[in-house]
Each structure stands twice: as C-alpha cells, then as structure tokens.
Amino acid sequence: MTMPALTLPGKTPNAARPRRLHRPLDERLLYGACVLVPVVALVLFFLLPLGTIVWRSVLEEEGGVGLANYLALFRTPGILRAVGNSLLVGGATTVVCLLLGFMVAYAVQRTRIPGKRFVAAALSLPLLAPSLVLGLGLIFLLGRNGLVSNLIGTRLNIYGFPGLLIANVLYALPQAVLIIQAALRQSDARYYDAAEVMGATRWQQFLGITLPNVKFGLLSAGFVVFTVTITDFGNAVTIGGDFSVLATEIYNQVTGQMRFGIGAAVGILLLLPTGIAVYIERVAAQRQFGTASESALAPVPDYVPMRDIPLFLATMTLALSIVAVVATVVFASFVRLWPYRLDLTLKHYSITLSGGYDPLWTSLAVSAGAAAIGTALLFALVLGLRRMPPGVAKAVYLLAVLPVGVPGLVLGLSYIFAFNLAGTPLHMLYGTVLLLALCNFYHYHTQGFLTMVTGMRAVPPALEEAASCLGGGVLRVLGDVVVPVMVPTLLSVFFFLFMRSMVTLSAIIFLVTPSTNLAAVTVMRLDEAGFVSQAAAFSTCIMAAVAAAALAMRGALSLATRRKVA
C-alpha cells in the first residue's frame, strides 16, 4: 500500500480489527443461525440445481458418462472465435462500466453537483426496464432507420460489436454503480483533513485515500460486470448481429436444437471466470483503513469547480443518454405506427391478450416477496459471516458469488431438473410463485451479496464490540449500530432485487405455469405475437408501477423512521 504515513493516534489499520472476546452462547447461536439459514437456502436453491447442470454436462447422448459434450463443444465450428469475442466484449464492457460507474458513484456520493436525484433515477431505469425496452430503444435511436441515422442522413450500422457493447454497458452499469456506491458511501473526513494539513494535493488524496478504499468495491463491480456480460445472450440475440459469443451457443443448443448436453457444458465453462472471485475474497479479508471507525466523521463534500463542472457535464450526458433510450420506447408506445405514422394514440394500451393487466399485480407481489426474502437472507448472511472463522467465511463467500456466473436460461432449466421430481419433498414447490420468487432472488444473489458485503465493511467493529460489552443485547447492537449504517445499502439491495425481479425473463419462462402469469412474460408474449407497440405499452406500465411502488415504499419508510425518532 502506498499510503503516506497518515496515522492518527490509535487509528492504525490493525486497531480496528475485532478482538476475539468471549461471547455468550445465545449470541453465538444467533450468529450461527444467521449464516446457517442462508447457506442451507443457497445449497437447496442454487447448488442443488447447479449440480443437475453439471450432471447434464457429463451425461452423453448415448447415455454414458464422460466428457463428450465438452469435446463436441470444442469441435463446434467457430467456437474459438466465439470465446475470443466473449472475452473481448466482456473486457471492453468491464473497462467502460468501471470508468463510468466510478464517475457516477463518485459524483453522487462525494461531490456537490446538482441533479443527483435525477442521475440516480436515470441509473435505475435499465434495472426496471424489460430488456425489450433497451433493445428497441437502441434500435429506434441508433439503428439503420433510427432517429440518429435519419438525422445525419447515413444508415449507421450498430449491429455487432458496437451495439452489443452499448447494450451491455446499459445493462451492467447500474449494477456496477450499486456496488461502487456502497463502497464510496462511508469514509472518514479526518484522513482527508490530515492529508490536507500535510500539504497533499487533492489528486494525491484521491490516489492515496479514496482509491485504495474503494479497491474492494471496484474489484467486485468489475467481477460482476464481466460475468454478467459473458453469460448474457439476450443482448447478443437482439443487437449482436452476426457477432457470435460463447453464451449464444447455449441458446443455439437449447432453444434452437432442444439439446442440453453441450448447452450445459457451456454453462459450466462460463462459471470459470467466477474463479476471479477467489482473489477478490482475499482483498475482502483485508481491512480497509479510513472507514469503519467508531469515531469516523463523514466527509462533507465541498464544491471544487475544476472537478465538479466536468463531472457534472459528463454525468448528465450519461444520464440523459440512458433516459433517451427508454423515453424513445415510451414515446413510441403512444404513437400510432412507429416510425411511419407519428400521431398520438392510447390504442396500444388497451391490452386484452396474454392475460391483460392482471399479471402486473402478480409480478408486484412476487417481486416484493423476492426482495424481502432476499434482503433479509443476505443481511443475515453478511452479518454472521463477520463472526465466522476465516476458512468457513471463505467457502461461504465463494458459494455466495457463484450465481452470477449462471446464465438465466441455465438457471431456469436447472430448477426444472432439481424440483420437478415426483415424490420428493421439494416437488411441492414446483409450479408455485414462491419458487419463481426464489429463482429470481438467486439469479441476482451475487450482486446483492457483494453490495451488502461492501456496505458492511463500513460498520465499525469496535463500536459493535463496545455496545456488546456494555451489555447491549445482540438485537440492541443491531438496531443501534449496524442497521443505522446499513440502511442505505439495505434499501438499495431491496430495490435492486425488486426491480430485477419485475422484469427478468430468461429463467422464469421455464417455470411459469398456465395459472401464474407474470408481467415480464406478458411483454415477451405480446412481442412474439407481433404486437411490439403493445409490448412497449405494457413495459411502460411495468416501469410506472415499479416507480410508484418504489416511491410508496420509500415514503412509508421515511414516515416510519420519522415517527420512531419523534
């Protein structure tokens, strides 16, 4: 670490390390349960299904067991190019998302630029927009017959690498911001004050204090972006043109040719990059300095024109571009026949096919359930993990970050393999909305977990110890010390899970039944039936409903906390 000697009395990084104290039995039991329940759930609803995919990948077509599927995969024409393309687009997306993601998170957390709320809202749009909206929006704007092409008079060709890169950045950026923001949320102003006194320039402070402290957040965000990019094939199918990537081989095999063996093998290979997580976990185990101190003073962002004006312009441009993509589709949903007859109409909103508007309510309930269960389980897990021996913590950590490596289609199929077994107790869940909610949660488990871990690093362990030594019960410690620091992170994880659960599609199409209609499925069905404008209209309703629900929940929450304080 290239930190200059900025030691404050009693504030060496090591002093913050929790001392092992004798804990009462009930406390140990509680923290044990905190870890045990989420881990059992992870094993049942993630590891077990994943096991069925491993099994399928080694099950040969003639019935034997072996590596034939993997060999067949490497004999598939063009597969090496697809691997190369995956790495290329994954790497490019990661670089772009880390740069932009850090910029946005920094602007929102550490500067005094105006319009932060707008930026935050714009950044959550790609999370709550069905993928159809993003795909259509990009084509409406940047396609060969898009607004920009018509404006400049040449037919732009975004299909292929450029389109795929833009679409992936749009999809992954909010997830990067989610994690980086959690890392930037807490800091200790005294370090910056000390550096100031010692004559360090702002730039030196940034390199010496800010960056090292978000290293873990940046690594985690980069890991998530890279993994979601290489496992996603939705964007590749919509806008990737002939640019083939490894994940589309799953689509070719499973959806195109009804074959699971090679598709399962690709699914397993796509888990390899999650091995990077081993390194990130080592970083996670290192204490960070400058935060997590019981007497930390939150830095008050000051106004620095040289920094804030360019940052404001760049952040606004980015936010407006995202809004433009979504707004174009919302606008098109009110237009008679995009892009030929632009008179306004509400006719696309009269939707009777595919269950009409009813699925919207089912989806809201399922998503609220997924978000509540998910946030509670993740909070418990991360809370308990801090008290576990390093070996156990490491194993649990690796298990918890694995889900991001599993493409939605593979996860959905794995749920069929694991839960559609007559005569087993788990079969009871098959076809229920509870299983849909769980599937949605585990689909996005990693993002929620890493955000929670990043946020938890800001909880001062010493204060926790003190509260506990002073005879505060565990719940008291939680309520007085941990939760107040964690509220913003808990909320962002809750809303992240809620939003994704409303619109994610790739896994649940294998789990919906004739009686469980979900909003995301309705969008897909309208689109497949050729009613693209109606699909856009329905998507608009989903986005409006999610935004309304989010506002209502935030309102209720602030009312509740205000009453508590008073």
Binding site: T76, P77, G78, I139, G143, R144, N145, Y159, A236, V237, D242, S244, T248, Y251, N252, V254, T255, G256, Q257, M258, F260, R336, L337, Y340, R341, T352, L353, S354, A365, A368, G369, A371, A372, I373, A376, L413, I416, F417, N420, L421, A422, M428, L429, G431, T432, L434, L478, L490, I509, F510, V512, T513, P514, R525, E528, A529, G530, L557, A560, T561
Partner: protein
C-alpha cells in the same frame, strides 16, 4: 428499518404461504402446451370452452424452441396432458416421440397421410409457411423491384439489405434452408445458399425478427414467416408479403396426447375438438395452411395475397428427412456459411 424489513418479510411469507398451497388437480382440468400464436389461441380457447364446458382448459404458450426445451427438461415428470400445435420437425424428435401416446383423433382419418403420423402418434390440423417481408417504402426509395423468389434474393442489387433467421438457433431458419436443399438437391442447394450468403446482411437468431427488422425499416427484406408478414400488413406497416415461387418451406403444427396424462378422457375430447368443423372454420381466420379437408380458404391468407390453393406454392417437404438430417445440415452450414 428493522420494523419495516420485518413487516415486509412477514407479508412476503404470508403471500408465499398462500401461493404454496398445492394446485389441486381436479378432475376436468386439462393442461395444454402450445406454440400457436397468442391471438388465435384466445379465439380457439374461447370456442373450445363453449363446446367442452366441463373441461377446465389451462394453456401455456411458449415459442417453439423454448417449449421444446421445457418439455424435454420436464420429461421425467411431464406437467401437461396435450401438446397442441407445435412444429412437427421438433415433434418427430425421438425423445419427444417417446413421451406421446398414439391416438387417432376423431376426424384424423380424413386427413391426408402427409399430415399425420403413420402410427397415429401425431396429427396436424394447421401449418405455417415461410415468406419474405418486403418493405415497399425502402425499396421504392432505393428504386428496387420487389423480389418474388429465393433466386431473386441473390441479385447483387439487394446486397446488405436481406436478413434471414439463423438456422442454428431458429426452427424457421432451418425450415427455409431445408426447403432449399430438398427442392434443389444437396449439391446445387449448398451452392445456392453460399451465393445467397453474399447478399445476407445478418443471420438473426429468431424466426420472426427478420420480419420485424424489415417492417421497421432496418433492412429492406426479411426472410421470415407468413404469419409475421400478415400480422404486419394488418397493423399497417408499408410491407408486402412475398411467398417465394421457388419453394416456400413450410411447417406443420402437430398435436399429440401425452402418455403420462392423468386425464386422458378429456385430453382425447379436446384433441377431437381441434379437428372439428367448428375449429376448422376458426383456423381459416388465422392460418395459411389448414389441412382439414373441406375447410374454406383462409381469409387472412387471401387478404395478404396468397394464392387460392397454397398447396401449389408449397414445396412438398419430407419432414422425417429434415428432422433426421438436422444435425448434419446445421454442422455443414456452420462450417461453410455460419459467421
């Protein structure tokens, strides 16, 4: 916050508890998996419920590929009683054939032999065909003629303006190249596909998307399905449907009874209904191809400019052959043409 989380958790658990209550399978409940199109399903189901009021008909609609993956994944414990209107090329897969039980539905004896399995394991009441979606506004702007055949598409003037489905990921894409290979013979057929490749801007990964690309003006010509073209013309897009004169591939929508059905009585009544004169009359509202003898010419097809006797433009596909050769053809395609 704790309070809030606690409350919403409680609400979540209660909600889930209600949802977990097992869906009790009453007698008279029939679960049907289908790949027919959304609006026609709504129409057919309404009519079927009128004719079979005691059956609680539950229908799950997924695209052909997704449905196939789902059915095969569920094969150890199938959740449905009937497969209704699903691509016969997929139905003929031995793993699917192992799941179905022969049943000669009432009315299937009148179907020509090409439209049913020899052992009565499946029958097809309807079908769909390949078609070009041609954006007339774009062609006019570029001053290009409307193509009428696959051969026309190889004309260099269309270079970069033609999109077609990728046969590796799309059943529609496969039926298009299978029809070309079967009608021209292997050697000439592959030669033709390579020439055509020079004009193709993109192999899109789904069967209906090329038509959507053409109608939104992204590309001038999309090789796709007649259904998608008819729908787009109805919606008012500046689009013309062209059935290629040199062999339009087509696909049959096959139905079958599941061996594992717990309600075979009702399943059979429903399958009988799909061949009834009443159903046939409804099909003509939506379908280019109705196999039931005596069914009137489809209105939709007529309006979209299909010939009165579509049989004339359909290449007589050998479905058993195209199902059996699928792996080999796709491998060759990926090796010589695929991008």
């Amino acid at each position: 916050m704790v309070e809030f989380a606690g409350k919403s958790l409680l609400a979540g658990v209660v909600l889930m508890g209600v949802a977990v209550l097992p869906a009790v399978a009453q007698a008279g409940t029939l679960t049907v998996y289908t790949a027919l199109e959304e609006d026609e399903i709504a129409d057919y189901v309404a009519a079927a419920k009128k004719d079979l009021p005691d059956i609680d008909l539950k229908v799950l609609r997924l695209s052909t590929g997704d449905l196939g993956a789902r059915m095969l994944a569920e094969a150890s414990n199938p959740q449905h009683d009937v497969i209704w209107g699903w691509a016969v090329t997929n139905m003929l897969d031995p793993r699917v054939m192992a799941l179905v039980e022969p049943y000669a539905a009432k009315g299937s004896d009148a179907l020509p032999a090409a439209y049913k399995g020899a052992d009565a394991s499946w029958f097809a009441a309807t079908g769909y065909m390949a078609a070009f979606c041609v954006n007339t506004e774009l062609l006019k702007a570029k001053n290009l003629p409307v193509p009428t055949s696959w051969k026309d598409l190889t004309n260099p003037v269309y270079k970069g303006e033609v999109v077609m489905p990728n046969p590796v990921s799309s059943g529609t894409g496969y039926l298009q190249i299978a029809a070309i290979l079967q009608s021209q013979g292997n050697e000439k057929g592959w030669q033709f596909l390579k020439t055509l490749d020079g004009n193709i801007a993109q192999y899109i990964k789904s069967g209906s998307k090329p038509c959507k690309s053409a109608r939104s003006g992204e590309f001038a010509i999309g090789a796709s399905l007649a259904f998608a073209a008819i729908k787009s013309v109805e919606e008012g897009f500046p689009l013309k449907m062209v059935i290629p004169t040199d062999g339009a591939g087509y696909e049959l929508e096959a139905s079958a009874l599941m061996k594992t059905s717990k309600n075979k009585e009702d399943a059979k009544r429903f399958l009988d209904w799909t061949l009834s004169p009443k159903a046939a009359a409804l099909y003509t509202k939506y379908k280019e191809i109705v196999t039931i003898p005596g069914a009137p010419v489809a209105k939709a097809a007529e309006e979209a400019g299909l010939p009165a006797d579509v049989q004339k433009v359909l290449y007589p596909m050998d479905f058993a052959k195209s199902a059996a050769e699928r792996d080999a053809i796709l491998k060759t395609w990926q090796g010589s043409i695929g991008r």
